[in-house]
Amino acid sequence: MFTLHGIPASPGHAVARIHRIIREETKVRRRDLVAGEVETEIEVFRAALNQARSQISALVARLSDQLGQDEVAILDSQLLILEDELLVDRTEERIRTNLMGAEGALHDTMGDLIHQFDTLEDDYFRERVLDLRDVEERLLRRLQGIDDRPLQLPTHPHVLVTGDLTPSETASIGRTQVRAFVLGSGSKTSHVAILARSLGVPAVVGLGDQLAILDNANLVAVDGETGEVIVEPDSATIARVRQLSQKQITVNAKLEHLRDLPAETPDGRRLGMLTNIELPLEVEMARAAGAEGVGLLRTEYIYFQHQTIPSEEEQLAVYREIIDGMDGRAVLFRTLDVGGDKIQRYLGARKESNPFLGWRGIRFLLANRPLLKTQLRAVYRAAAHGPTRLMFPMITGVDELREAKELCRESCDELAAEGLDHDPGIPVGIMIETPSAAAVADLLARECDFFSIGTNDLIQYTLAMDRLNSRVAYLYQPLHPAILRSMKSIVAEAHAAGITVGICGEMASETKYAEVLLGLGFDDISVHAAQLPKIKQVVRWTPMPEAEGLLAELMSFATADEAVRHHESYLEAKKRRRNEGTGS
């Protein structure tokens, strides 16, 4: 038994047999030519190019209604690579001048090109290397007459172990017998990670070369919370992991009865329970958790899935899928929020010395109006099919809000003039995540329909702490007096202006803060679907005077430390009370 460490990408525990998919790279068969063979070898190479081209064209023709624009674009660029002089001429030159066989000549030419991309500074362009390897692999297979086989998965429970999955392979997995994913590549935001989270299946990604160790392994235990992959676990470990996965199932089953009940305190205060989602495939999970709506649809991932900016029609299709899926429950769209810790290369932003204080959120959007307009038009058109809200990220003052709303009006006017179905009346709100927005909340509240507090950024900006810097990470203190005061005043200003205020961000998803948020007076909270039942349970247990009393006590302390200690003892005492209560 031994343990590998990867990046935890989807929570949960599983133990099962490995199903290892190894994409074997086709071996390059090198050979030297004699002078008389050159022309024949070039013919062989050209024939392989032609076959590869017709293979791709056939694929596009056959799957055009199933493939998204991004997959079509990938195949499109592969076609152009197959015609590229840098590939064709240079390979033929090697065959002719160096008397090399086609496979060796192709491999060396590709090696040069890949090296050229590898030395570029920009990650985005470096990743194009994958496209080149793909093309080389396809050509080598044609040169050797090897068939391509589709992905096949076993019908027994298994842990899927592989280097990487293409988006179309990922989509084909659906509800099979996959108990966990273990991947060589990838990050928390990769396609597989998102799919795993929405299937409620644990995933560990980014294992890199460690994956090779699993080639001959049989059984693994996967911990999606710590990123541990235990290879050939002993019986004690198997029992422990089985128990953990069983416990999760039991907790979920216990909370199952809450699904259709409101998040209402014993004294009748109702809190809207919403979920954060990223992709249409998460809608099912949101509904299964009993969400009353989507409180934060991060649209970034819909963009990142594409090779380039998705068109209005492409966005409309995805947005409609989500709205239709939520079946009458409102969906809150946050416009594209790039910058900060999010991948910028896709949108061509440059490296900044202070990305969190740089070109991000609404600043980026207002500087890229065509891009924003495309998204606004898609949202307004989607809104004709179900209840929709729209909000802007990173607002620092009223001028940005006015400008953004002006673009909303323009978009609606255009849609009306074009006779396209849309709903111009949807609520338009803002994220409150900068200290300046908090300071002028009263002014902002007069000009928009709702607030949603983004706690991650509000905490980091208010306490001037970079959450990615481990030396100052201790300053991430949701119970810091500055944070509590700020949130309290934002809620008060929203309510004074007669608009609603919600909260999203990690703090909202932590069960332990549920009473605090209730005490602060939020109208709705938006959380990870998996957390929703637990938080609803706390709300249903907590009368308002208790929540408000707790908040008043927490706000009486001068330091975050004192507040945290008090909060902990409150939670301890409450747990004891409940245990005694259920014991008697």
């Binding site: 660029s77 991309f117 080149l132």
Partner: protein, 103 residues
Amino acid sequence: MRLSTQERNDVKTTNAKVSDPVGFHLRAAGRIVKLAKTFTSEVTVRFNGRVANAKSIMGLASLAADHGSVVVLEVVGADEDHATEALLHLIEVDLAQPEEPRG
């Protein structure tokens, strides 16, 4: 759109500012290649000390020209005026918008 065209050794040289928000990634490069191939003129693109044939998708992508950077187009051939005009418009204007869906 900025035009700073000058004739030099029969080569038509024009500066073009990359409007695609992502820069010359594969999809944008592909659009340029497809357009360049409709002309008989030779089109060379220079950026940051690197040179590429506008009819080569990998050449263009390896320029790593990102959003807002200015590339130099050198066009020579019978249809160089048309080619310059069309490519300039594509790079400076059309690339800012997604490609029209097909069909």
